[in-house]
């Protein structure tokens, strides 16, 4: 029989990891031939002193020609376009992103604009291969979550439509990623929890995605194991430097995995829920993850069973019959998220209804669900989901996640076969 296997794999750039990794930054920057970098960060990272620490190391070889810190969570094109203007007017020759996924994705957007001499990101959207060579980009992730320092994707919002837009190209992979536990030291516990669960979602969705391949599989399984092991330790004792570094490595592995196999339903719905209601990405992921798995479970039960081994360990895995492992995985993941909720003393929410604004008003209301489901139909990650879903089914999943009810998987399956 002819093999139908076909995959392509884009590895991350050079990756330097360790408790003293930042000390090598000057030499690494010099190696890339940069002399006038632009540092991108956000105000929280700047206030914590993390970006100053990076700048002090960077300055030994290449003092920054500009610093741009006006990047909000869930950034839109305007931040990237403003930063590109500053880049040009300051005569920069490279980019250094110090922050979470929002900062690194914005840096990728800036890189597209300045390397291709364009004014606007809107016409540059898409998944394509012929981007040409971009400027050097160094990524220093401060969240252990998005894995964006390893990926060929960037997700930014269109300020006119409010929709999330995707950019995908091998040229977007940062040239260098530096993982040092000092970068995540000042991260608040709830953000650490959300980031860790975003990384878990990357690993799990990469493993069940239609775009999976043997290379992404290995990375996804190892990332899952590291996250399940180290995230609770960090939440229990945030000063645990070893655990924080391991979580950064896990997020990097999960990022590499999903950059090549892509993500699925959880991200499809989560991107839209984030865009419509302004809920942080990692929070959307952790609320939706068990539902996404339940929804697709009948299409990927053996794969869910494989994931039980890194999540629950050999003892539990061996004690269960093969056909029950997949379902058990979903309940283990629910338990894990509940444990994260407990360790953050309730700061990490378990359902959409519990996310409140400053005025104690739920940020998502039932009437948002139809809007989110409609927007989700335009998210390219739905290509990779093992099960098809209509807007009506997307709304059903969101509704269950809003109230915290489990999905009736029998009903889901019957609905699909109708």
């Amino acid at each position: 029989m002819k093999s139908r296997q076909f995959f392509r794999f884009t590895p991350p750039g050079r990756t330097v990891v360790g408790p003293r990794a930042l000390e090598t930054l000057p030499e690494l920057a010099a190696g890339l031939g940069i002399s006038a970098p632009m540092v991108l960060t956000d105000q929280q990272v700047a206030a914590s002193g993390t970006s100053s620490l990076v700048i002090s190391f960077l300055s030994e070889a290449a003092p920054p020609a500009a610093v741009f810190d006006r990047i909000a969570p869930d950034p839109d094109f305007t931040a990237a376009e403003a930063a590109a203007e500053l880049y040009r007017s300051s005569g920069c020759d490279s980019l250094v992103a110090v922050g979470g996924g929002s900062v690194i994705d914005t840096a990728k957007g800036v890189n597209l604009l300045v390397s291709q001499d364009r004014e606007s990101l809107r016409p540059m959207q898409g998944a394509w291969n012929r981007t040409g060579v971009l400027r050097p980009l160094i990524a220093l992730p401060t969240t252990a979550g998005s894995g964006s320092e390893a990926t060929q994707t960037a997700v930014l919002k269109d300020p006119d439509t409010g929709r999330t837009c995707s950019f995908l190209s091998p040229a977007l992979v940062p040239d260098l990623a530096v993982l040092d536990p000092r970068l995540t030291e000042t991260l608040p516990t709830d953000m650490q929890a959300a980031g860790g669960l975003d990384a878990l979602t990357h690993a799990v969705e990469a493993y069940i995605s239609l775009g999976k391949n043997p290379l992404s599989d290995r990375l996804a399984l190892r990332a899952t194991e590291l996250i399940v092991h180290h995230l609770p330790r960090i939440l229990a004792s945030p000063r645990n430097q070893h655990a924080r570094l391991q979580l950064s490595v896990a997020a990097h592995l999960a990022g590499t995995a999903f950059s090549n196999s892509m993500v699925g339903l959880v991200h499809t719905l989560g991107h839209s829920a984030g865009a419509v209601c302004g809920i942080p990405h990692g929070v959307c992921m952790s609320i939706l993850l068990p539902y996404g798995l339940e929804y697709s479970s009948h299409r990927c039960m053996p794969l869910l069973a494989d994931l039980l081994l890194p999540v629950a360990g050999r003892g539990v895995y061996d004690s269960l019959a093969e056909e029950t492992r997949g379902i058990h995985l979903i309940s283990q993941i629910r338990d894990f998220i509940r444990e994260v909720h407990r360790l953050t003393k309730g700061a990490h929410p378990l359902r959409f209804r519990d996310i409140l604004s400053d005025g104690n008003i739920p940020v998502m209301r039932p009437e948002h669900i139809a809007v989110i489901a409609r927007q989700a139909a335009g998210d390219p990650s739905l290509f990779y989901s093992p099960e098809e879903f209509s807007q009506k089914e997307a709304a059903e999943v969101l509704f269950a996640a809003y109230w915290g009810y489990p999905l009736d998987t029998d009903l889901v399956k019957k609905g699909h076969q109708k």
Binding site: N129, C165, F383
Partner: protein, 174 residues
């Protein structure tokens, strides 16, 4: 059907497959409620292009005022709002002889897309739906993730096949 070795035969086969599929989409967009709903969400005058890299063949569809899709004649197909490209002729052949789904092809990185990816999602859904009319169920099952029989399938299928196969120059109203 094996992938032909001769470049000219290959190009001819692929051109025929694209022509048939493009015409079928045009025909189905006039009668299928799901496709009509999908088209109604596209921006006015929106053009969607699907080609094989580097030089085709392919087709371009434009949203009409009537809310259907019109197959554009080749001379009108230069720029499109969204352009999907299949990365090699052999991959186009696998796709249009329905040995794998367009979703699977996209998910393995065999199709690239320039422009708003929401439009690419719409085109893939429209193609999937058209395949249900164009193909026997057994083959369509391979081409789509989930097979959902549309109402009045047989009557509509006859309409789509008739409109696809009875020659009308591309660009005629559906």
């Amino acid at each position: 059907m094996a992938f032909p070795r001769s470049r000219r035969v290959r190009q001819f086969y692929l051109s025929m497959l694209f022509l048939i599929t493009g015409r079928a989409v045009q025909a189905a967009s006039g009668i299928d409620p799901d496709i009509r709903r999908e088209v109604s969400r596209l921006p006015e005058d929106c053009t969607l292009k699907l080609t094989v890299w580097p030089k085709g063949p392919g087709f371009t569809l434009r949203k009409t005022e009537a809310g259907t899709l019109r197959l554009l004649p080749p001379q009108e197909t230069s720029d499109a709002d969204m352009h999907m490209e299949i990365q090699a002729p052999a991959l186009g052949f696998t796709l249009f002889t329905f040995r794998e789904s367009s979703a699977a092809a996209a998910s393995k990185g065999r199709i690239t897309a320039s422009g708003e990816l929401a439009l690419a999602c719409s085109l893939v859904r429209i193609l999937n739906r058209t395949e249900i009319y164009l193909l026997p169920r057994r083959i369509a099952l391979r081409a789509v993730k989930r097979y959902e029989s549309p109402p009045k399938k047989h009557r509509r299928r006859l309409h789509v096949l008739f409109r696809t196969l009875i020659f009308k120059p591309p660009g005629g109203s559906p």
